[in-house]
Amino acid sequence: MSLLIFFLLTTRMVERESSTRIDLPVARSAQDTDRQDLGNRFVVNVRDTRSEGGTGVEYVVDERVMSLSDVLNRLTEEKRHQPNVNCIIRGDRTLPFDYVQQIMVGCGRIGVTKVTFSATPRSQGGGDPT
């Protein structure tokens, strides 16, 4: 019974950004998101669909697949309501950086200056990148 109480207390209630499966890049210095004030979040998931026979990339916001222009429209709307919105980019590690950079360029145009990259502090199965 005491073991059960221990696990109940120590298991963190993980606030999932999205159920979208993303193979995040590895960064040892990635800070724990719980300890950090990320402010008003706007989470953009960028999936690499090439391994699944897709054409390249898929942008997912709130579990909905949308085009880059729709993502930026949503971000513009969000910026209107929350001026200091923080754009969190969750991208597959195998993506060409161009797809991520397009979001950053869009953020710049909209006036969103806070951009955060999600990463995992440890490799999930694979080895450390060089």
Binding site: P25, V26, L95, P96, Y99, Q101, G108, A119, T120, P129
Partner: protein, 150 residues
């Protein structure tokens, strides 16, 4: 209705604990597995230049303290690493970190601007690894240009 049983004098009844122990064990196993399955997720924050966007001021070019460029290799999976326009002979991110650490030891300002420039086809992991090397060496002001390298 009378639910009382006829309990013989001198005997007492206790609830059956076996089903309760079964349920507790199942919940315990659930939490043990759940704790292991939770994927750790961290964050690498950055700030885009404040002069961008509507209402921004004049576009002023600030020379960064450190300039890092990533150019993809011919196979498309790796990348060549340049620091201050000099290619790192080793080409690994651990050597980039060591070179950045050397800069710190030579007196580089940790709050100085570090610019990471990447060509479009470099894998996202490599850009994050470069950023990781900067943060690991103690630099916190990491920025990305609007356009890419190469």
């Amino acid at each position: 209705m009378n639910f009382k049983r006829d309990i013989p004098p001198g005997r007492s009844y206790a609830p059956n604990l076996a089903p309760m122990v079964d349920v507790v064990m199942v919940i315990l196993v659930f939490f043990m597995l759940g704790a292991r399955l939770a994927v750790e997720e961290g964050a690498l924050p950055t700030e885009l230049p404040s002069q961008v966007g509507p209402g921004g001021g004049a576009n002023v070019t600030i020379i960064p303290t450190i300039h890092i460029a990533l150019i993809e290799t011919a196979d498309g999976h790796g990348c060549r690493i340049f620091m201050m326009d000099l290619q790192l002979p080793d080409g690994s991110f651990s050597s980039l970190r060591a070179a950045l650490q050397q800069k710190r030891d030579d007196g580089a300002n940790p709050d100085g601007r570090v610019l990471i420039e990447s060509s479009p086809n470099v894998e996202y992991q490599h850009v994050i690894s470069a950023m990781d090397a900067c943060v690991g060496a103690g630099f916190s002001n990491i920025q990305f240009p609007a356009g890419g390298a190469g």
